[in-house]
């Protein structure tokens, strides 16, 4: 995060004073403070509660999942080591391949949609007045509402008869009623749309913060050079937001890989597997059918994919920065 903030500051060419305070204090002062703080274990002691929680609820289960992925899991009788058999099973399962493709489609569509919607909302709602801050909060509401509530709301809106909520709206412009989540042709984009509606405002907030960091002088300079509104967005706003977009992209991609709740609540992977994503498949295999070993193997693969993606994006960004 710090890298990106610093990057943002550089790109936007912000005033030197601001950069000075946010980056690092003079080395001499830092060393002095270190001595005053005393023992090396003090920061660790402060970190301990959080680290312990992470350890118990995150790292140990993760290591156990890796262990389980090479075992035939039998909670009571004791696990049997089966080598890579679970990986073979899941990789040769056509349902897993389909789910991977669906996950990628959904992740990509939602990420892109959220960025576009978030960017448009941010442009519309940028500014200082009190009314705007109220509207911004209102627009942000979907992000804080629990997913279960949203899913139920959209299920009602997606009611597939011609007097359903959304169908009666699209009926006004003469479109035929859609089946939405009840047809394999439309289920995927229906879930995507709901995800964008929910995720867009989150991106909006981050982009708004990014917009605030763009030097106003650049806009003025562009106006003086004769740039119109569109050209200003294209040549000033978008380049200024590049670091913001990259962090949003990483976050959204990771979130996209792990998408579960909305799919589980709306379609549970149906109809005809049209919305089956990796997480719903793993849930079915591991927790409903109690094939915990196979499920764990899938989860480890998902973890590796996320890891590779994150590292790749980080590397790409670093290389770009060095160049």
């Amino acid at each position: 995060m710090t890298i990106h903030t610093a990057d943002a500051v550089n790109t936007a060419d912000a005033p030197k004073s601001a950069a000075g305070t946010s980056v690092s204090p003079p080395p001499a002062r830092r060393r002095g403070r270190h001595r005053v703080q005393g023992q090396w274990w003090v920061p660790w002691a402060f970190l301990m509660p959080a680290l312990l929680l992470f350890l118990v609820f995150r790292y140990i289960p993760m290591v156990q999942a890796i262990g389980m992925s090479v075992e035939n899991v039998r909670p009571y009788l004791g696990n049997e080591f089966v080598g890579l058999k679970n990986y073979e099973t899941i990789l040769s399962d056509p349902a897993f391949r389909d789910a991977t493709v669906n996950t990628l489609v959904l992740a990509f569509g939602q990420t892109l949609g959220c960025l576009v919607l978030g960017f448009l909302l941010a442009l519309l709602l940028e500014g200082q007045t009190r009314k705007l801050s109220f509207i911004r909060s209102a627009a942000f509401l979907p992000v804080v509402v629990p997913m279960a509530v949203i899913a139920e709301l959209w299920r009602i809106m997606y009611h597939p008869t011609d007097n359903g909520f959304l169908n009666s709206i699209i009926g006004i412009v003469g479109l035929a009623p859609s089946e939405y989540i009840n047809s394999p042709d439309s289920a995927m984009w229906s879930i995507m749309l709901m995800g964008i509606w929910r995720g867009g405002p989150y991106d909006m907030m981050i982009i708004l913060a990014g917009l605030a960091g763009i030097d106003r002088g650049l806009y003025e300079a562009a106006t003086v050079d004769g740039a119109n509104r569109w050209q200003r967005i294209l040549h000033v706003t978008l380049p200024g937001l590049r670091p913001v977009f990259s962090i949003l992209f990483i976050l959204a991609a990771i979130r996209g890989f792990r998408v579960f709740t909305e799919v589980y609540l709306m379609t549970n992977g149906g109809p005809n597997g049209a919305t089956e994503v990796v997480m719903t498949l793993l849930y079915k295999l591991g927790l409903e059918q109690q094939k915990l070993g196979v499920g764990s193997a899938g989860a480890v693969l998902l973890f590796l994919a996320t890891l590779v993606l994150t590292l790749a994006v980080q590397l790409m960004l670093r290389r770009k920065k060095d160049a």
Partner: protein
């Protein structure tokens, strides 16, 4: 300094993780090796919603057990992720003593080794149990691992006011059922001048395999089955003529006749129940446990219960029920046995059927108990007859859940996408079922 710290931290994580692993892989627990204590409180888990009327009914029943036998017991109601929570306790080698869960879980639980075999000689009341219920308590090895204590079968609930408005009779076979469904859909049975009614309520979602659950009524009535065989020799059978006929007929309700409530492919039971009680759909094949709710929301005068319409073969319907499972590793095995024995006795079976809101016992498994003596509601007799004459349990194999899940996926797909070819999809399903039976080691070679 920093590297050292990191190394120490990593070492800590690894040690703890290994400790976690090794405890998970502890040696096999031996049930007979556990020190016995007849005073120990029996921990009873039941798969119902905490705080619900059915939890209250179970507590009432277990309290009666304590009074009658002197053993101590405590009820815990769990609904969400019941099996997962049970697996967690299995991992800790500290299972509850008694589990009250669906009979279809028997195979899964038995193959996990968490059940104790029951010697029917110890269960004195078992001599009065119906043959059907006794059979349902057996695993593929022919040994008894559970004592079914309550039974239920599906019947057809139908809006009597709609029938009266249109001058129709309740259907007795599939052709009549289709005709009634079409009339309910097209002839405005609620008389509000709008085409907003449908024939049949169907939970067509893949969640927990609901689509397959519901469809099994029709599949069995046509003489088909998901898998056929016995012992450890099974074959998939979704491409038999009977199965194809049943699937095609059921699917045509949606794709040709259009008599199923809208949105069925994404609905599990809660929204489907609402579709029936709010007057969207006029027929619903379901169990007696829905009556208290529909009586309250819809009104008992608005619907009747009739036997499920006869299919091409017979009127087979899904039979299910609660089973007492005696869990392995208990420190009070005598108490466990007494619990199971008491639960299927005459006294407790009668006691458990009393009440109005929810019942610990739906239909008795004890032949000496006559339901009409306890309940003067004739609708219960319809269910009792359906169970006795047409009740069809799902086969007991090591794990029924994947079979139900896979068939639910196919039924759901066929309902959602009318362009799919029935035979082709069923052939695909047979392929998946073959692989699953092979995984479970029960495929007939």
């Amino acid at each position: 300094m920093h590297t050292k710290m990191k190394a120490a931290a990593v070492l800590g994580v690894v040690t703890l993780a290994l400790a976690g692993c090794s405890s998970a892989a502890a040696p096999e627990g031996d049930s007979s090796g556990v020190k016995q204590d007849e005073e120990a409180v029996l921990e009873v888990w039941t798969r119902t919603t905490p705080g619900s009327p059915s939890e209250a009914a179970t507590i009432r029943q277990v309290e009666a057990f304590m009074e009658a036998t002197g053993y101590k017991a405590e009820v815990t109601a769990i609904f969400d992720d019941f099996e997962i929570k049970l697996a967690q306790r299995a991992g800790q080698k500290d299972l509850p003593d008694i589990v009250l869960n669906d009979v279809s879980q028997l195979g899964t639980m038995q193959s996990q080794g968490i059940l104790r075999e029951v010697d029917l000689k110890d269960i004195k009341n078992s001599k009065n149990m119906t043959a059907q219920a006794l059979e349902a308590g057996k695993a593929i090895d022919g040994k008894t691992y559970g004592i079914p204590y309550s039974a239920q079968a599906n019947a057809l609930m139908i809006r009597s006011d709609w029938l009266a408005n249109l001058g129709l009779e309740a259907p007795t076979d599939w052709d009549e059922m289709l005709a009634v469904a079409e009339a309910f859909t097209k002839n405005d049975p609620d008389g509000n001048g709008q085409a907003d009614t449908y024939g049949l309520a169907v939970p067509g979602s893949t969640k927990r395999g609901y689509a397959s659950w519901y469809f099994s009524n029709f599949l069995w009535a046509a003489g088909g089955d998901f898998i056929t065989g016995s012992g450890d020799e099974w074959l998939p059978s979704m491409t038999t003529d009977e199965a194809i006929e049943a699937t095609t007929w059921f699917r045509d309700l949606q794709c040709t006749a259009g008599v199923i409530q809208p949105g069925a492919p994404s609905m599990d039971t809660p929204p489907t129940n609402e579709a029936f009680e709010s007057g969207v759909a006029g027929m619903y094949v379901t169990g007696p446990y829905m009556m208290p709710r529909f009586d309250k929301v819809l009104g008992a005068d608005k619907y009747t219960v009739v036997p499920a319409p006869e299919g091409p073969k017979d009127a087979s319907v899904l039979a299910e029920g609660g089973t007492v499972y005696l869990m392995a590793g208990s420190e009070n095995e005598k108490g466990q046995t007494a619990f199971a024995d008491w639960y299927v006795g005459e006294e407790s079976q009668t006691y458990g059927m009393e009440g109005t809101d929810a019942f610990a016992i739906q239909l008795p498994v004890n032949e000496k108990v006559d339901i009409s003596e306890v309940r003067d509601d004739p609708r219960w007799e319809t269910f009792a007859t359906a169970y006795k004459e047409s009740g069809h349990y799902a086969p007991t194999i090591p794990s029924w859940t994947p079979v139900r899940q896979m068939s639910a996926d196919t039924i759901n797909a066929l309902l959602a996408d009318c362009s799919l070819d029935v035979e082709e999809e069923l052939t695909k399903l047979d392929g998946k079922l073959t692989a699953e039976l092979l995984t479970q080691g029960i495929l007939k070679q």
